[in-house]
């Protein structure tokens, strides 16, 4: 009995035949089927990238607003057990010496109360509305350069350096903007631009005019009353010029961690707490970010499973309806691997098309648009967080899921008896 002597089929040949069959099936198959599957893949990709990206971006929007309008890239505040930043002049000198610093804004902060003009009381026995607030004394120009406060004006105008007895009020202190009234968060009614309000700070009482109203999605801003720094400094008696916080804005590509380290190395740490925006981010914001990332991953996973099942069904129906042809291919000597490769390559093609179109939509349309026009959520201006690294990971997951969704049904059909497939039994 002699050996058969035929050349064993190589995997390379199987791959080439698989590629050949897949390319012809895609090119000459039903175009609407291809369009439908690519459509599904595009939406799967968007579901994977955009849903989680918006959920994360919703909270990221909060962080971004805090950075843009309140903390800057680095925030310097008083040490524990200290009322304010001692040797503020020295600390400011260190900040000014940093080449990566674009600007900084020192602030005087003090607690106090505000109330409307007494003449607005309805009855002599009626107690005035009294609202606790934080007063911030700012250099209007420096503050605007770092925190762009003027962008947050919803009524009135921005403070000028020589304004006196004029303030800007945060929207959460006013009933008209807060939208609620509670024992825990009292608000003033009937106060608008031009109204006089009475402020009490450090035992000093003054009637001041509301020059502007600020509304952001950062509570720390919306619960403050802003004075020009020179006036508040007098009211709180801070004649040593020591400030309570300093927000720093860095140049675009600067590394906040490096600048923070440089400021600390200059000796500022002895008088103040120096934190990057990320350090200072409240724990609950970090927790919400993680929670939303998990939620996004769960929603994306469900979408991925649904899409995998869809691809599975499409490939399975395709393979079942072509069972006879698969049988014929096997009958004439085409290796099972080549047929499986054909279905895998087809699935990969659909995944590739979905990814390319989806990526173009995300990075050329959706992300640039949402960056310019953030989504107006009640507590943040939501952005779309889609990093190239994160997107690549999701693309990998999509390809893996599609590969399995294409391979399994193909394997199921290819494994069937060749003669039964040819004869349709």
């Amino acid at each position: 009995m002699q050996k058969s002597g035929y050349t064993p089929t190589k995997t390379g040949s199987s791959f080439l035949v698989g590629f050949f069959l897949a390319s012809r099936n895609i090119r000459r198959g039903n175009p609407w089927t291809n369009v439908l599957i690519v459509f599904i893949m595009v939406f799967t990709f968007l579901n994977l990238v955009v849903v989680s990206g918006i959920l994360v971006g919703l909270v990221e929007g909060v962080s971004q607003s805090i950075g843009d309008h309140f903390m800057g890239d680095i925030i310097i505040s008083n040490l524990k057990q200290r009322e304010y930043i001692e040797q503020s002049g020295f600390v400011i000198g260190i900040i000014s010496a940093q080449s990566d610093v674009l600007g900084y804004t020192p602030r005087y902060i003090s607690g106090g109360t505000i109330e409307p003009e007494l003449k607005k009381l309805r009855k002599p026995s009626e107690l005035p509305e009294k609202v606790s607030a934080l007063f911030a004394g700012i250099n209007p120009e420096q503050e605007n350069a770092v925190a762009s406060l003027s962008d947050l004006l919803v009524e009135g105008s921005y403070l000028e350096p020589d304004d006196y007895d004029q303030v800007m009020v945060g929207a959460l202190l006013l009933k008209e903007y807060a939208g609620f009234e509670s024992e825990a968060f009292p608000v003033l009614s009937d106060v608008s631009v031009g109204s006089k309000i009475r402020i009490t700070v450090n035992g000093n009482v003054r009637d001041v005019v509301v020059k502007g109203i600020l509304r952001s999605k950062v509570d720390e801003i919306d619960r403050r009353v802003f004075f020009v720094d020179s006036q508040l400094r007098g009211l709180i008696g801070r004649f040593d010029y020591n400030v309570d916080e300093i927000a720093i804005r860095l140049k675009e590509d600067a590394d906040p961690v490096k600048v923070k380290e440089a400021i600390l190395a200059g000796g500022a740490g002895e008088y103040a707490k120096v934190q990057t925006l990320q350090d200072a981010e409240p724990k609950f914001v970090k927790d919400i970010k993680n929670t939303f990332a998990i939620l996004g991953a769960i929603i994306s996973s469900i979408g991925l499973v649904v899409a995998s099942i869809t691809i599975f069904i499409v490939i399975f129906i395709n393979a079942i309806t072509r069972r006879k042809f698969i049988g014929i291919l096997k009958g004439i000597g085409v290796h099972s691997k080549a047929i499986e490769f054909a279905y895998i390559i087809q699935s990969m093609f659909y995944a590739l098309m979905g990814t390319v179109i989806g990526s173009a939509l995300v990075f050329l349309v959706l992300k640039p648009y949402i960056d310019v026009h953030p989504i107006n959520f009640p507590f943040s201006d939501g952005i779309l967080v889609a990093t190239p690294e994160g997107t690549l990971v999701r693309i990998g997951i999509l390809f893996l899921a599609t590969l399995l969704a294409g391979y399994i049904p193909a394997r199921m059909v290819v494994k069937q008896n060749t003669l039964d497939a040819i004869l349709g039994r």
Binding site: M1, Q2, K3, S4, Y6, T7, P8, T9, K10, G12, S13, S14, L16, V17, F20, L21, R24, N25, R27, R28, G29, K324, F325, I328, L329, K330, G331, I332, G333, V334, H335, S336, A338, T418, L419, I422
Partner: protein, 227 residues
């Protein structure tokens, strides 16, 4: 070239058993053109599928070119069909999304023949069956007779040792059937071994030998005097 020893084929479905081939013994020589005939249900196609390694007999052995095919693995049988056998099916069995040339090339690609060479070999095979002007037509653009000729070209392009044909004229009119039989005759005269199942005695006359089956057994094995 082919030795069939005591093959038996039984289909089982639950407790039901049906023996379709019973102790079939047969020898087919290289270059022979053999017709397998018999009434419906006689086991003609079943015998062809066993000889073409598309199915396994329940008992017995089939030796082709000195190789006991029952000892080959699934993949080895696939490779054996790819390199040594050619098939022509009753309903042509062409892949609808491939052109005539591509349908013929597929087995050549599988053998690892480079694209340009396989295209040349396919065109040569198609020209030999009279389809030199229809190389790039899809099956849907060809008539039944033309599709069957593509099927023959596919079966012979890789120079198989044996060509199997399962009722190749069943779906064709008499004129097209005659064309197909003339192609087989020409191939056989060039040395091709052909084993064909047919219902039609007039086409059996094109062959050198006719094996008649009835109820799964060979009842006659006659040399054709006209050839």
């Amino acid at each position: 070239m082919i030795k069939v020893r005591d093959i038996e084929k039984t289909y089982e479905s639950g407790s039901l058993k049906q023996t379709v081939l019973k102790n079939v013994n047969l020898e087919i020589n290289e270059g022979e053109f053999l017709a397998i005939m018999g009434p419906s249900g006689a086991g003609k196609s079943t015998l062809l599928y066993q000889l073409g390694l598309l199915d396994h007999p329940t008992n017995g052995e089939i030796i082709i070119d000195g190789i006991n095919t029952e000892k080959l693995s699934h993949d080895e049988r696939t490779n054996f069909r790819l390199h040594k056998l050619g098939f022509v099916f009753q309903d042509y069995a062409l892949l609808p999304e491939l052109t005539a040339t591509e349908n013929v090339s597929i087995t050549l690609f599988m053998q690892g023949v480079p694209r340009t060479q396989s295209d040349e070999m396919s065109a040569e095979a198609l020209t030999s069956v009279g389809l030199g002007s229809r190389l790039h037509h899809l099956p849907s653009q060809l008539s039944g007779g033309e599709q069957q000729r593509v099927s023959i070209a596919r079966a012979i392009a890789h120079n198989p040792k044996i060509l199997f044909a399962d009722e190749p004229t069943a779906n064709l009119d008499s004129e097209r059937s005659l064309e197909i039989m003339n192609i087989f005759l020409k191939l056989n005269k060039a040395g091709q071994t052909i084993i064909m199942v047919t219902h039609e005695p007039e086409f059996a006359q094109f062959t050198q030998r006719t094996v008649n089956l009835r109820d799964g057994s060979i009842v006659s094995d006659i040399k054709n005097a006209t050839r």
